[in-house]
Amino acid sequence: MYPENLKYSEEHEWLLKNNGIATIGITSFAVESLGDIVFIELPQTGTEITQFSTFGEVESVKAASEIYSPISGKIIEINEKLETEPELLNNSPYEDGWLIKVEISDNSEFKKLMTAKEYESFVNAGS
C-alpha cells in the first residue's frame, strides 16, 4: 500500500534517504483527506528545521494542514514546481510531489520513524 523504500511519521509525512540527504513529502493518505490541493507554503532554502516541528502548510479547497518535518536538518532544496502545479501532490505524492530536500543532521532520529508496514497499521488503527 505504501512505498516500502520510504520512512513515515505519525503526521503523515514520508522520507526518502539518499546518503546524507532526505527527500520529504506527505503521504497519499494525507493528500486524500485534504482533497484537491490548491497551495503549498514552504520555507526558503537554508532554513533549519527540527524533527516533528512545523515547516509549512498545505491547503486544499476545504482545509489547511500544517506540515511537520520527520527529520532535523537544513533545507537545501524546495520543489519550485509546486508553486504553479500544486496538483502534483494529488497526482504523484511520492515522486513529483516531493516538498523539500534536507541535509540530515542527526541520523539517530530515524529510530522514531515508521516502516511502510508500521505506517499502514497506524493508519488502519484510525489515526
Binding site: 482533497g35 490548491v38 496538483e87
Partner: protein, 489 residues
C-alpha cells in the same frame, strides 16, 4: 435560464458613449482644477445605459435562491421571513437620511429607538445593559471577548489567558477569541450532545478567562448540564459568553442572564429579521450582566432626568467597534419587528420554531441518521453516514440534489463533530405543508441514492451552473475582470 447573455460582465457590455445616469448641472462658477499630473488619467468603469443595467442585475438576480422564493433551512442562520414593513420604516427619511455626526439635539428620535431596543434586548436576554455598536455577530463576539479580557485585567488578574470553546462551536468563536488575545482550549461534546463535564473540569484552572457557549448548541440541543457548566466556570472565577445565534429557540423560554451567562450577543439578521442581503449587512447587539456593564463598547445610548437621550462611552469601555454607532438601519428593522410581534408574538416564535424542528426530527429520523435522539430545539442535525456507507452518496450529494427540487441545502460545514452533517433549521415561518413537502423530497432523494446514485453525484442538474470547480478557483485565482478565465486561455 433563457437569457444566455446573463454571464456577460458589465465591462464586456460597455460601449463608449452610453450613459447610465443623468448629471446634475454645474450651478457654480468653474474653478481651476488641479494640475493634470495630480489627477488620474483613466478610470476603467463600464459605460452602459440605465435600462441595460436594470436588465443585467434583474437577470443575474434570477440565478439566486432566496427566502422569498422557497424553503431555506440553513441551520443556525435562521432564514425566516423578512417582513416588508421593516424596510418601509427603515426607509423613513427621518431614519434613512440622517448623518451619524449630527448634533445630539437634532437626532433624538434615532436615539429613542436605540434606547428602547437596548432595553428590549436586555429584557429578552435577562441582562443589565446593551450596546448596539457591533456590526455583525462576529464583531459582537470579539467585543465580548475583549470585555472579558478587560474585566480580568481590571481585577489585576493577568493569568487568565485561555478561553474554553466546545468543538461544535461556529468558527467565528475561536477566531474571535484569538483576536482578543486568548488561547483556545477545545473541549468535546458528550454522546448525548451536552458539554462533556469531565473534560471541562479537567481543563478549567486559574488561567481560564471564560467559556464560550452557544445555547442551544449548533447540534440544536439545549445542554441539560448547563447549570453545572455555569457553576464550574463561575466557581473558578471565569465568565461565560453566550453566542446568541440560536436565540430563536429560547425567546421567552429562558433568559441566559438568569442561568448565569455574563455576556450574550444577538444576531439581529437572524433572530430579528434584518434581511440577510446575500451575505450581510448584519448587526450584533451585545448584552451584559452587571459585572461587565462598564466595559461595553462605545457608544451606548443613555437617557437623563429630563428624558433627553445621548451617546455615552461606558467608564471602562473596550472602545469603538466601528467609525459610527452601529448599523442603525438594521436596528430600526429589528425594533420594528419586535414591536410588531410584541410580547405574545415574541413568545410564539420559539414555540413554532421548536415545533417545526421536532416535527422534521420525528418524520425523518428513519430516513437519515439522527445522531442525537432526543427532543431538539429550533434545529435538528441529521447525518448521512449510513447512506454514505451503503450507497456511496454523501451529505454534499444530498444537499446538491435538494437544489434540483428547489430547496436550499441545509448547513453542512458545521458542526464539525458530526460526520456528513446536515443541520436543518426550518424556522417558525414555514408551514406544515412546506415541511411535509421537504420530508417527502428528502425521502425521495434517499431512494434515489439507492436506485440511481449518479443523479446525486452529478447534482444539481437544473441550475445555471453544475458543480463548480472550487480547486481551480483556489489554484488559479481570477478575482476581477482584469483577469478572467477566457483571457488566460
Amino acid at each position: 435560464m433563457k437569457n444566455s447573455n446573463v454571464r456577460k460582465l458589465l465591462m464586456d457590455r460597455s460601449i463608449e458613449g452610453k450613459v447610465g445616469a443623468t448629471m446634475p448641472s454645474i450651478d457654480v462658477p468653474l474653478q481651476t482644477l488641479p494640475n493634470k499630473k495630480f489627477l488620474r488619467e483613466n478610470l476603467a468603469m463600464p459605460e452602459v445605459s440605465e435600462n441595460e443595467i436594470v436588465r443585467y442585475f434583474s437577470s443575474i438576480s434570477q440565478m439566486n435562491f432566496s427566502i422569498d422564493h422557497n424553503f431555506y433551512p440553513l441551520g443556525s442562520c435562521t432564514m425566516k421571513y423578512n417582513p416588508k414593513l421593516n424596510d418601509d420604516i427603515a426607509g423613513f427619511p427621518g431614519f434613512n437620511e440622517i448623518h451619524p455626526l449630527q448634533n445630539i439635539d437634532t437626532i433624538q428620535g434615532a436615539l429613542e429607538i436605540m434606547f428602547d431596543l437596548q432595553n428590549i434586548l436586555a429584557e429578552i436576554t435577562g441582562m443589565s445593559g446593551t450596546s448596539l455598536a457591533p456590526m455583525a455577530g462576529a464583531e459582537a463576539e470579539l467585543a465580548g471577548m475583549l470585555m472579558i479580557r478587560a474585566y480580568h485585567r481590571n481585577r489585576e488578574d493577568f493569568k487568565r489567558k485561555k478561553v474554553i470553546i466546545p468543538d461544535s462551536a461556529h468558527g467565528t468563536n475561536p477566531a474571535s477569541a484569538v483576536m482578543a488575545g486568548f488561547e483556545v482550549i477545545s473541549i468535546p461534546t458528550d454522546t448525548n450532545g451536552n458539554t462533556d463535564l469531565e473534560a471541562l473540569k479537567n481543563v478549567v484552572d486559574a488561567s481560564t478567562a471564560g467559556l464560550m457557549l452557544t445555547q442551544p448548541s449548533t447540534l440544536g440541543l439545549f445542554d441539560t448540564n448547563i447549570l453545572e457548566v455555569v457553576k464550574i466556570i463561575n466557581s473558578n472565577g471565569g465568565l461565560i459568553y453566550g453566542d446568541g445565534a440560536n436565540l430563536n429557540a429560547i425567546l421567552g423560554k429562558v433568559k441566559p442572564g438568569e442561568i448565569g451567562f455574563d455576556v450574550v450577543h444577538s444576531n439581529l439578521h437572524k433572530t430579528f429579521t434584518q434581511p440577510h442581503g446575500g451575505g450581510g449587512p448584519g448587526a450584533g447587539a451585545i448584552m451584559v450582566s452587571d459585572k461587565l456593564i462598564d466595559f461595553l463598547p462605545d457608544p451606548i445610548v443613555t437617557k437623563d432626568k429630563i428624558d433627553k437621550f445621548d451617546l455615552s462611552k461606558p467608564q471602562k469601555s473596550i472602545g469603538k467597534m466601528g467609525a459610527f454607532h452601529g448599523n442603525f438601519g438594521a436596528l430600526v428593522r429589528a425594533y420594528s419587528y419586535i414591536r410588531t410581534l410584541g410580547k405574545e408574538g415574541i413568545n410564539n416564535i420559539s414555540e413554532d420554531a421548536v415545533i417545526n424542528a421536532n416535527y422534521l426530527r420525528i418524520k425523518l429520523k428513519d430516513t437519515l441518521d439522527l445522531p442525537y435522539d432526543r427532543i431538539c430545539s429550533h434545529e435538528v442535525v441529521f447525518s448521512a453516514k449510513t447512506i454514505k456507507e451503503k450507497y456511496g452518496v454523501n451529505a454534499l450529494d444530498i444537499a446538491k440534489r435538494l437544489i434540483d427540487y428547489d430547496i436550499h441545502p441545509p448547513t453542512m460545514y458545521f458542526p464539525l463533530t458530526v460526520e456528513e452533517a446536515l443541520l436543518v433549521e426550518p424556522t417558525e415561518t414555514e408551514s406544515k405543508e412546506t415541511l411535509d413537502e421537504f420530508i417527502e423530497t428528502v425521502k425521495t432523494i434517499c431512494e434515489e441514492a439507492k436506485t440511481n446514485p449518479n443523479l446525486l453525484h452529478n447534482a444539481p442538474h437544473n441550475t445555471p451552473n453544475t458543480r463548480l470547480n472550487e480547486a481551480l478557483a483556489a489554484r488559479n485565482p481570477k478575482l476581477n475582470w482584469r483577469n478572467t478565465i477566457e483571457e488566460a486561455n
